[in-house]
């Protein structure tokens, strides 16, 4: 019975549930992926999961996006604008982080000719790089 209740709650909040699943998938890829590009994709999936979570928090069925149209300033006509603003800010942060990670990937590839981190670590060990 309890399991059914739990399932009902998850189905009622399916957007948040999917967001959390995406977050976990991305988190695991970023943590355990051995390839730099795979890690980068994982990071973006993780962030997207959080943005979906935030967007679903702000969504109110039947209302419009928070952009004033035709001078209608009645707040009940629009969805909650705060999560949308957070998502937009978060996307800017994600893009910046992705750019930095990609530049690191390029530098690693130039130096070690692979993007596999295990191979990079063993190459660094063989070269006795300490500093």
């Amino acid at each position: 019975m309890e399991a059914l209740l739990m399932l009902e709650k998850i189905l009622a909040n399916y957007e948040e549930a999917i967001a959390l699943i995406l977050f976990c998938i991305g988190f695991m890829m970023l943590l355990f992926g051995r390839n730099m590009i795979r890690k980068l994709i994982g990071m973006n999936i993780m962030d997207t999961g959080i943005y979906l979570f935030l967007a679903s928090l702000g969504y109110i069925a039947g209302r419009k996006p928070p952009i004033i149209e035709g001078g209608n300033t009645d707040p009940t006509a629009y969805i909650n604008p705060v999560p949308s603003a957070l998502v937009l800010t978060g996307i800017v942060v994600s893009v910046s982080v992705t750019a930095v990670m990609l530049s690191l990937a390029v530098r690693l590839y130039e130096k070690y000719h692979t993007l596999n981190l295990d191979e990079i670590y063993s190459a660094a060990r063989e070269r006795h790089e300490h500093r």
């Binding site: 988190f27 962030d47 300490h130």
Partner: protein, 508 residues
């Protein structure tokens, strides 16, 4: 009527952001002058805020945007924020001055202005993390701090910096992801982003017994995120590479203040949002305490097995982060005061060790290996004595700051039940013994003549003989200031502790 000083927290952040943009288009020398000036102004702003809030006897808030709280973006400053901002800006300036000698060697001239841009971004992010009262602003500046700290690491294009930066970024991004998820959950549960209002919502929910599990999970997620970012055991694996590969100024800033910025944000959230008397905090703090205890011991064990100076100092940072989390885990005002005191002591000691270590390494054929460092204090006495002061402080020799710090941890432990008190005191004793083993061993080694002076006399140094005295001035300033602070806090710890007690009482 708002006093003019109330603008200083906002000015601190904006001034650094403006200087960061300016430095990106300036020549190296001009960018350096601007950055040093901005860092000095930051100290003035921070000290002003500290004096003002001490005289005021309470905190003040600074609303931004077109709306009043709870819908505004808010800065909040009390005595504790003033103390931390002063420490952060002072260590930033001294690390920069102390590391100038090596910045010129490690970073090409055309990129040196970008290094100044990154230092200004670090300054802006640290000031914002210190003063912000908005959890999402906290996230944005966490990421700015992550990116700029990665920049000051990777700008030294040699050895394995790119690999170290990758490792650093991956773990930091995991931490940031967890923090953002936790912040979103707090927003979802309470509908607020300002810490005080989230705190009110959390207190109401706790009183009614609702959302107990989601609240605990959220606090756990945020604590885990910030613990990963600050390098708490077992997430310390990025430390040796990161601190070992960066230019000494960057190592000092990374280990001295950047990790403390994350921890200070965590302390603010635990105090202001979760409430240190709450059941939610109680369930999270035990995990932090246990991880802190492991960090204290294992950080020191790893440090003992190192064959390179920078790696040893880096692992000792892992142990020190463990100490700080033990303070947070012990909880109560005494626990938090011990943790913050420990943060400040670590902030002024580690840069001294990294910068003096770099000078010792320079006179040992640019080698970090202990076998080459033997007798290095004889080859450069100034760096040798500076390293000895830092190492003795870390070990906990009385009359130095590290001793006072350990004393406050012990005092905080005595407020707890028999088992907790016993375990924490035993861990403190074991960790201190291990600290003594590797730090005293290193000090003896660098002061023991090796008979290799002739070998290293032939090694080409970075600079001409004529240039050396001028280049040493920055090092001397850093050594004297850090050394004086360590000795001052060793003899006069009480004055800082009183300020911290006042600050912590204003934090909630």
């Amino acid at each position: 009527m708002m006093d003019f000083v109330c603008n200083f927290p906002f000015f601190s952040v904006v001034l650094c952001l403006f200087a960061a943009v300016l430095c990106s288009v300036l020549k190296a020398k001009a960018a350096r002058a601007v950055t040093l000036a901005v860092e000095a102004v930051l100290i003035f702003f921070s000290v002003s805020v500290l004096v003002y809030t001490t005289e005021l006897g309470t905190y003040f808030t600074y609303d931004m945007g077109h709306f009043d709280s709870p819908w505004s973006n808010q800065l909040r400053a009390g005595v504790l924020e003033g103390v931390m901002a002063t420490v952060f800006s002072l260590v930033l300036l001294l690390s920069h001055i102390g590391g100038l000698r090596y910045i010129d060697v490690d970073i090409s001239e055309k990129r040196r202005n970008l290094y100044c841009t990154l230092l200004n971004l670090v300054g802006a992010a640290l000031m914002a993390l210190t003063y912000t009262n908005d959890i999402f602003t906290g996230y944005v500046f966490l990421e700015i701090l992550t990116l700029s700290s990665c920049g000051i690491l990777v700008i030294r294009r040699s050895g394995r910096t790119a690999l170290a930066a990758t490792r650093y970024m991956v773990l930091n991004l995991l931490g940031s992801g967890l923090f953002l998820m936790g912040s979103s959950l707090f927003y979802g549960i309470t509908g607020h982003l300002l810490m005080e209002y989230i705190g009110q919502g959390v207190a109401e929910l706790e009183a009614s017994g609702q959302y107990a599990l989601p609240l605990t999970a959220t606090v756990g997620i945020i604590s885990a995120g910030l613990a990963i970012k600050s390098g708490l055991f077992p997430f310390h694996t990025w430390m040796p590479d990161t601190y070992g590969c960066a230019t000494p100024a960057s190592s000092s800033i990374l280990s001295g203040i950047i990790s403390k910025g994350y921890i200070f944000l965590l302390i603010k959230i635990l105090y202001r949002v979760v409430g240190i008397g709450s059941d939610t905090y109680d369930s999270a703090r035990h995990i932090l305490l246990i991880l802190g205890l492991f960090g204290m011991i294992f950080g020191s064990v790893y440090a003992m097995n190192c064959r390179h100076l920078n790696r040893m100092v880096a692992y000792s940072s892992a142990a020190q982060i463990g100490y700080i989390f033990v303070g947070i885990g012990l909880g109560g005002t005494s626990g938090f005061v011990a943790a913050i005191f420990g943060m400040i002591v670590h902030s002024i000691t580690k840069p001294l060790l990294f910068i003096s270590g770099a000078r010792l390494s320079e006179v040992s054929g640019d080698s970090q290996a202990f076998r080459n460092l033997q007798g290095s204090a004889g080859r450069n006495k100034m760096a040798g004595y500076a390293f000895a002061v830092g190492a003795m402080s870390m070990t906990g020799i009385p009359s130095l700051a590290g001793f006072s710090s350990k004393l406050y941890y012990a005092i905080a432990a005595t407020f707890h039940s028999g088992a907790v008190e016993l375990v924490v005191l035993a861990a403190l004793a074991v960790s201190t013994l291990l600290n003594a083993l590797y730090f005293v061993r290193t000090v003896i080694r660098i002061f023991t003549p090796s008979g290799m002076a002739d070998k290293f006399a032939e090694v080409a140094y970075f600079y001409d003989e004529d240039e050396l005295p001028r280049r040493d001035a920055g090092l001397l300033i850093a050594f004297v200031c850090f050394g004086a602070l360590i000795i001052y806090l060793g003899f006069n710890a009480q004055s800082l502790a009183i300020a911290l007690y006042t600050g912590v009482s204003m934090l909630a």
